[in-house]
């Protein structure tokens, strides 16, 4: 009987842990368990027999670490073939003609692929190739690629197994991180998208977390995968007892979890680390001969994924935006860079499109991308480290696509396959091999049909062919092509019709929006008008410019209107604004009341306006000092008040102080007066020697300067002696000192020591990240300022006291 026949008939029982069973049977744990396949076959045979007696339908070879990269650590890389073949032979001996299947275990290489680690894809491929071939020669019934921690490595393992053996393949991932992700960050939902269309027949979960967490892993896996599921967990989280690991779940307790796996719809159930033949016996007793439970219906989506995020289109998904900006067409700088094989601009566009909330990114490198497959693949490889978004591989050369798909850690989208026979006969097998999704482009050898009917004929033919080539209809989206309206005025209505037709057939759709407006002025307006029309007919996604803020907002509004933004949650969150002065009201104030307008300009930190209104008041004949006293100072005081109440935060305080400075400068220049003459107190500011931090000190200086103090700022890394001497020379009233680190704080003491003898009347206020009020007292400073506003208060208080004397 074959694996698939078995699977249809019943739930299969897999064996339990190998390592833990070996440890029970040996005096000394070997460094490499697989060596026992040659040297102590009887031990492995005994483990297999114990599991067969317990009722296992499948036994797993003792080859988890028998790959070249792992064995190299022990200088045993020449024994890969030997160890794997021997392992299968031992398993065969245990089977002895019974109806039991042998799973050839293939574990992770133990290395991470560049740039996360130090091995490259080809090395990983040949490593898996070698082991898979050996297991087939030995006579395994199927390959179990298990405990995988990285989806890229797992994808390569599947391909190596499929391209070099004729065995069925099961892939099982281990979500070992606390948040239920693989070591390289993929969650079960992402993995289920990636491996729903790869060539492994079975998908699964093993090892890693406590079995109670598997319920969620299984449910998430079923969201996007219909493949038979293999599940085998550890007997709980191990505790260390002396030198040994103790797995807390006994056979009965573990079997209770196995029952949950079964009820959720698992097809192959067994145990991983810490489970024993007793555990398997319990499971076997409970599940023997039962049929798999029917799973819940999956929602149909078009889907793709990067290493750690998924993209769904259609169904209940919101409208999806595929960023168009990585395309040299019409971008001089980008196209020069692509020609020179540089990546800076490309990376920049990836980043800013993600920041602008695109859902995926189209990668089109123009002719260069077609001509140089290596460069195209390099770009794709780099981009997946820059952005979390899935990529549309927009390239006409199958070689470029193949190379890029090989390196892609996820499920990419081939953009696009058209109705020309040669085209789809090359690209569908490529998509199948790499488990990628495809864009079906509504054109063929004869060009782009004028009518909706013509377009849909091509799309329907392509779907039929895709299915014939083994692709799933979940991996297909149709691009119904919008042409430039200035050249073909009928194009938009036919495209809209085609969207409607595709919608009624349940085919998800997309368009390259920017084509529409080519050659016309004010292109954004046309996009903004067309997009809602298309969405109302059922368009699910578009390749468009995510940096067009207005257009992006329109997509959000459309989601809210069409009910794809559940509870309008996203819309409300995005567009609710904190109350502000209404724009109309503002304008009125500006025209009628320049004094109030200046006050508001300071409050809002508008430098240019502050200057403009100040000059208007000066022109009107207002006294410069009066502007300072009756408008600017109260405005900044109000800002200070808002800051203290935390309604304003630091950037706003600074912007206001800067606006104030701009206004003061304008007064000084226009009226040829020195506003500092009105300032009563002089302060020397400095960051102490050895300390290079001066942002905090600059802010305090700025705020003080604009709050009626005469400030002389000596900058950073200033010698104690210089600070005191300047203060004496300038007849300063205060010294303000800043230090950020514990090592430079001590310098403050130096300043105070010198000052105490040379200028006892000058007061010192200190501040900075590391400085505390108690430190300030300890070194004899007069005050400690927590921040700029606090410093003002302290200085005013100190100078008030001084006046009393």
């Amino acid at each position: 009987m074959k694996l698939d026949t078995y699977l249809k008939a019943k739930v299969l029982i897999l064996d339990g842990g190998m390592g833990t069973e070996i440890i029970k049977r040996v005096d000394r744990t070997p460094e490499v368990f697989e060596i026992l396949n040659l040297e102590k076959k009887e031990i492995i045979l005994d483990v297999h027999r114990a599991y067969i007696d317990a009722g296992a339908d499948i036994i797993t070879t003792n080859t988890l670490g028998a790959n070249r990269l792992k064995l190299r650590e022990f200088k045993m890389e020449s024994q890969v073939k030997e160890l794997n073949i021997a392992a299968v032979h031992v398993a065969k001996k245990a089977v002895e003609g019974k109806e039991i299947l042998i799973a050839g275990s293939i574990g992770p290489t133990g290395k991470l692929i560049k740039p996360l680690g130090d091995v490259d894809e080809n090395e990983v491929y040949t490593t898996f190739e070698e082991q898979a071939k050996a297991l087939e020669i030995g006579g395994a019934n199927f390959l179990l690629i298990e405990t995988q921690i990285d989806i890229q490595e797992a994808k390569i393992a599947i391909r190596a197994a499929k391209e070099n053996t004729s065995l069925p393949v099961a892939l099982s991932l281990s979500y070992s991180l606390e948040e239920g992700r693989t070591v390289t960050g993929s969650d079960p939902e992402t993995a289920s998208v990636v491996f729903s269309s790869t060539e492994n027949e079975i998908l699964g979960i093993n090892c890693g977390r406590h079995p109670e967490e598997f319920e969620e892993f299984i449910s998430k896996t079923f969201l996007h995968s219909s493949k038979p599921l293999i599940v085998y967990a550890n007997a709980g989280i191990p505790e260390k007892r002396g030198d040994e690991l103790f797995y807390p779940l006994g056979p009965e307790e573990y079997a209770a979890y196995a029952e949950i796996f079964y009820k959720l719809g698992a097809n192959i159930i067994g145990g991983c680390c810490g489970t024993s033949p007793e555990h398997i016996a319990f499971i076997s007793k409970m599940l023997r001969g039962k049929k798999p439970v029917k799973r819940k219906e999956r929602e149909k989506f078009f889907r793709a994924a990067s290493r750690n995020s998924i993209l769904t289109i259609g169904g209940h998904s919101p409208f999806r935006v595929i960023g168009e900006n990585i395309n040299p067409f019409g971008k001089k700088k980008l196209s020069q860079e692509i020609e020179a094989e540089k990546l800076e601009q490309i990376k920049k566009y990836a980043r800013i499109q993600e920041q602008a909330q695109a859902d995926a990114i189209d990668v089109n490198l123009g002719k260069k991308g077609d001509k140089s497959p290596e460069f195209y693949a390099k770009v794709v490889k780099e981009l997946q480290n820059i952005t979390r978004l899935p990529l549309y591989l927009d390239n006409n050369n199958p070689k470029s696509l193949e190379l890029a798909l090989f390196s892609y850690a996820g499920k990419a989208i081939i953009n696009s396959v058209n109705g020309a026979k040669k085209n789809y006969e090359t690209l569908f097998p490529l998509a199948k091999k790499h488990g990628s999704s495809v864009v079906l482009l509504a054109m063929d050898e004869n060009g782009i049909p004028d009518t909706a009917k013509g377009k849909m004929q091509i799309v329907e033919k392509l779907i039929q062919k895709a299915v014939e080539f083994g692709l799933s209809t979940d991996d297909i989206i149709a691009d119904l092509i919008i042409l430039t309206i200035s050249a073909s005025p009928k194009t938009s209505s036919e495209t809209l019709k085609a969207i409607e037709m595709a919608k009624s057939l349940g085919i998800p759709t997309m368009l390259g929006l920017s084509n529409l407006s080519f050659g016309l002025p004010y292109r954004q307006l046309l996009h903004s008008a067309f997009l809602p029309m298309a969405i109302s007919r059922g368009l699910d996604s578009a390749i468009m410019n995510p940096l067009d803020k207005n257009l992006m907002e329109i997509t959000k509004a459309c989601d809210a209107i069409t009910g794809k933004d559940a509870g309008m949650h996203f819309y409300i969150e995005k567009f609710s604004k904190k109350p502000q002065i209404e724009a109309e009201e503002k304008e009125e104030i500006q025209n009628k009341d320049p004094e109030k307008a200046l006050f508001l300009a300071i409050l809002e930190g508008e430098k240019t306006k502050a200057k403009q209104y100040t000059l208007r008041l000066v022109e009107k004949g207002m006294n410069g000092f009066k502007i300072l006293e009756s408008i600017l100072s109260p405005a900044l005081a109000k800002v200070g008040e808002l800051y203290e109440k935390k309604i304003y935060f630091l950037p706003q305080l600074i912007l206001s102080a800067e606006a104030m400075e701009e206004a003061s400068d304008a007064i000084e220049k226009a009226l040829q007066i020195d506003t500092s003459a009105s300032k009563k107190l002089k302060i020397i500011m400095a960051t102490v020697e050895g300390d290079l931090h001066d942002i905090g000190k600059n802010i305090v200086s700025l705020v003080l300067r604009n709050s009626g103090f005469h400030v002389l700022d000596l900058g950073k890394n200033t010698k104690a002696k210089t600070i005191v001497e300047t203060a004496i020379h300038e007849k300063a009233d205060f010294i303000g000192l800043s230090a950020l680190m514990t090592t430079t704080m001590e310098e403050m003491k130096k300043v105070l020591d010198i000052k105490r003898t040379k200028a006892p009347n000058i007061k010192v206020i200190v501040g900075g990240a590391a400085v505390t009020p108690s430190f300030s007292r300890e070194i004899g400073a007069d005050a400690y300022g927590k921040d700029a506003m606090d410093a003002i208060r302290k200085i005013e208080k100190l100078s008030g006291n001084e006046n009393e004397f």
Partner: protein, 207 residues
């Protein structure tokens, strides 16, 4: 995980957490009223920052040779004293010494903006730089955790000079141990690093 090999890590990837930048700047949810001007100010700097940041990390793993009042390492002059290190490395068999920097780009930008008296921009770049180097350190830390998992080891939390009773001056020793000079990081006699947006620290490796 290799012992005693100084490894430079140039593939450090992260996105700066916008929320953290806001809160570093003093934003309080539910209290602070944001204006479009401020949001734009931060957005523009955010975009620019990604061009200015060139993150790099460097680390070395040293086997612990001696434990007691002083912790000593094989092939290293470093000696750790004090309670903080005793606690951190209590169950460790080795320690990772690391440094992470985002390069001088942000600091040069801050100086330029300061010179132009754009203190608002200088402040925002400073906050972005702080968050970036923190994120870079997190990335390196996670990268090390992933490697440790492969080797069936566990890592302690990371600890930097200036915390607990580990003096800031200890930065000098890490600086020399890793030869941070090669990453174009400088240190002065007060143990202050340039670029300032540089983090050094220690992580314990447990079985």
């Amino acid at each position: 995980m290799f012992f005693d090999k100084v490894i430079t890590e140039k593939e450090i990837r992260f996105t700066i957490n916008r929320k953290a930048v806001y809160s570093l700047l003093g934003y309080r949810k539910g209290k602070t009223a944001l204006t479009e001007k401020i949001i734009n100010l931060i957005d523009e700097a955010y975009e620019k920052a990604s061009e200015l940041i060139v993150p790099q990390g460097i680390y070395v793993i040293r086997r612990i040779k001696e434990k007691g009042d002083e912790i000593k390492f094989a092939n290293s002059k470093i000696v750790l004293k004090g309670k903080s290190m005793q606690v951190l490395l209590e169950e460790s068999l080795a320690a990772i010494f690391f440094g992470v920097t985002i390069g001088p780009g942000i600091e040069e930008k801050i100086s330029q903006e300061t010179e132009k008296k754009n203190f608002d921009k200088a402040l925002v770049f400073d906050a972005l730089g702080s968050e970036a180097v923190e994120a870079a350190a997190n990335f390196l830390n996670n990268h090390l955790i992933a490697q440790a998992r492969q080797a069936k080891k566990f890592l302690t939390t990371r600890f930097s000079p200036g915390y607990g009773d580990l003096a800031l001056d200890f930065q000098k020793e890490i600086y020399e141990e890793l030869s941070l000079h090669d990453l174009e990081v400088e240190i002065n006699d007060k143990s202050i690093l340039y670029p300032q947006k540089t983090i050094t620290g220690i992580i314990g490796v447990e079985e």
